[in-house]
């Protein structure tokens, strides 16, 4: 059972993170290397809520959403938007996000130490698994919640993007910013919203992670390859591609590592990032557009079949 819990919780959380990363990339064309830091901030919000305030970890979900969302929004307004106004290249933007990641890791380390010193709470490599509610048959609540969050996110984004006027404006702004602006759309607001949403989602993912895995500021770098791999497998342009990519990479990371341990022994665990890297390289070589490209190819074939 434990491998199913490990696999599905990790995969769902990864998928939520991939959606956020893809969202800001698709809407503002920034590959955000500091995305994981927003999730770690969410993890520490969970730790504070549970161990310092003594509340249920689930109470941290709105708190983490707001905190990570705000940090993400501030980073966008104070750094990214100014660089974009100066027509900085994608490389400069990537370096800016990397720099912010390093800065955030520093902040998170200070936060971790302050929690330990101020409240005598274990704040590194911590897990809140023992505080989680266990449902019937030893089923942990976080398992249900992480899958529910992912499904809710998929349905919610579909509703927002394709069933509301606001969503239509968002899609229009993504496709042609200049035209959208000349049609009266305040694209700056839409871009800011996407950063807030992306950061907020990462915060939620962080809370869920803290309930099953170990949290530490160093995860901000360790998990980065996985969320990029998931997004790239998904095509980096499609929200649904990101969900599928995240699930695929997440599951193969857990199942693959377990299989490798069976064959080679436990020492192989530290080479776990090789799995997302292989997924990323294979996708870029074989299908650079990821799963989204696959869908387009299938659709075109079908159209051709219809016309023939």
């Amino acid at each position: 059972m434990i491998i199913i819990y490990d696999g599905l919780i990790y995969a769902s959380v990864l998928a939520v993170l991939c959606v956020g990363l893809t969202l800001t990339y698709k809407i503002t064309s920034v590959p955000n290397f500091s995305h994981m830091a927003f999730a770690i901030l969410g993890m520490y919000m969970a730790l504070i809520t549970s161990k310092v305030l003594g509340l249920s970890v689930y109470a941290a979900l709105p708190l983490a959403f707001a905190a990570s969302g705000l940090v993400s929004l501030l980073f966008y307004l104070a750094v990214i938007r100014i660089l974009q106004k100066k027509k900085s290249s994608v490389i400069s933007l990537i370096i800016a996000t990397l720099a912010f990641d390093i800065f955030m890791i520093g902040v998170l380390n200070i936060l971790a130490d302050s929690i330990r010193n101020g409240f005598q709470v274990l704040s590194r490599d911590f897990t809140l698994r023992s505080t989680d509610i266990v449902l019937a048959d030893g089923l942990p609540l976080v398992f249900v919640v992480s899958i529910a969050v992912l499904v809710g996110l998929a349905l919610g984004l579909y509703y927002l993007l394709y069933r509301t006027n606001y969503g239509m404006r968002m899609r229009a702004s993504i496709e042609n910013e200049t035209l959208a602006r000349t049609l009266g759309i305040d694209t700056r607001l839409i871009f800011s919203m996407s950063w807030f949403l992306s950061g907020g989602l990462a915060g939620i993912a962080g809370v869920l992670m803290a309930l099953w895995f170990q949290g530490d500021p160093s995860l901000a770098m360790i998990m980065l390859p996985s969320i990029f791999a998931g997004s790239i497998v998904g095509g980096f342009t499609s929200i649904y591609g990101a969900i599928l990519g995240g699930l695929l990479v997440g599951l193969s990371e857990i199942i693959g590592t377990t299989a490798l341990v069976d064959v080679f022994g436990y020492w192989i665990v530290q080479y776990r990032p090789i799995i997302p890297f292989i997924a990323m390289i294979a996708t870029l070589l074989v299908l650079p557009g990821g799963l989204a490209q696959l869908v387009t190819i299938i659709r075109q074939r079908r159209l051709k079949g219809k016309n023939a």
Binding site: N165, Y166, R171, A172, T178, L179, L183, G184, I185, T187
Partner: protein
């Protein structure tokens, strides 16, 4: 008070003075045709007035209100709409959605997206209006098509439909009939003519003078970033300077 007045507008790119003191006053409820050789600054003028580019100097006033340097979305909400030389549309949105995008109303806000009761009624009203307009430009049967599936001529018509949808007072068209067959071109200008009747003012850049001059009420001639002449079409055609600078005769 004039409707739209541009005073001494300046815009340079490096050493190139694309706008070099352009000054003019648009004639309300008329077709104002803007002509000039390539590089004379026509598109720059439209881009600067519509807020895409901030001017280096000068002012743009709308009914006496200074709108210089406002953002494009703010300019749109002031009732000025523009189209582009190479027609721009949202290729992955349907024809209907493209129409709805052009509606100028109380800006849709995120909070409302989650409560359908706040916008559903409003949206069905807009949809009805869009269908009426699409029928008048003979695009109604294509309303659910994604707009990358429709032809170039139909996209030009869609652009016109969008301007109708926007309820703008001033519409700036950048070459509305470029690359369009003569029959459709006449149809487009006929439509523009009827729109001026309902109180819409046009500023049109067009190179196909054979057709455009038939419809223009006033002609503005641009040369080296300045308006060098403004008059009725027949007077303009007799003007020495204009012939020399533009018509090359």
């Amino acid at each position: 008070m004039s409707l739209l007045a541009v005073e001494n507008l300046q815009k340079s790119f490096g050493g190139l003075h694309a706008l070099n003191g352009a000054t003019f006053d648009i004639v309300p409820n008329k077709i104002n045709l803007l002509i000039g050789a390539n590089g004379s600054g026509k598109s720059t003028l439209v881009n600067t007035v519509s807020g895409l580019w901030a001017p280096d100097g000068g002012t743009v006033t709308l009914r006496g209100e200074d709108i210089t340097g406002l953002q494009p979305d703010e300019i749109f909400h002031h009732g000025i709409m523009r189209t582009f030389q190479i027609p721009r549309h949202f290729a992955n949105l349907s024809v209907m959605e493209n129409m709805l995008m052009a509606h100028r109303g109380p800006g849709e806000i995120f909070r409302n997206a989650l409560t359908p009761s706040r916008w559903r009624h409003f949206e069905s009203e807009q949809t009805k209006k869009a269908i009426t307009i699409l029928e008048s430009i003979e695009l109604a049967h294509l309303k659910d098509k994604l707009s990358f599936e429709i032809s170039g001529g139909q996209i030009k018509l869609l652009e016109l439909g969008k301007t109708l949808m926007s309820k703008s007072d001033i519409i700036m068209l950048d070459e509305p009939i470029a690359g369009v067959n003569p029959t459709l071109a006449l149809k487009i200008f006929d439509k523009i003519r009827t729109m001026t009747g309902s109180g819409i003012t046009f500023l049109i850049i067009e190179h196909r003078l054979d057709i455009a001059l038939r419809y223009a009420d006033y002609v503005f001639v641009m040369h080296e970033g300045r308006i060098i002449a403004r008059d009725k079409p027949d007077v303009i055609l007799d003007n020495e300077d204009v012939r020399e600078s533009y018509l090359g005769k």
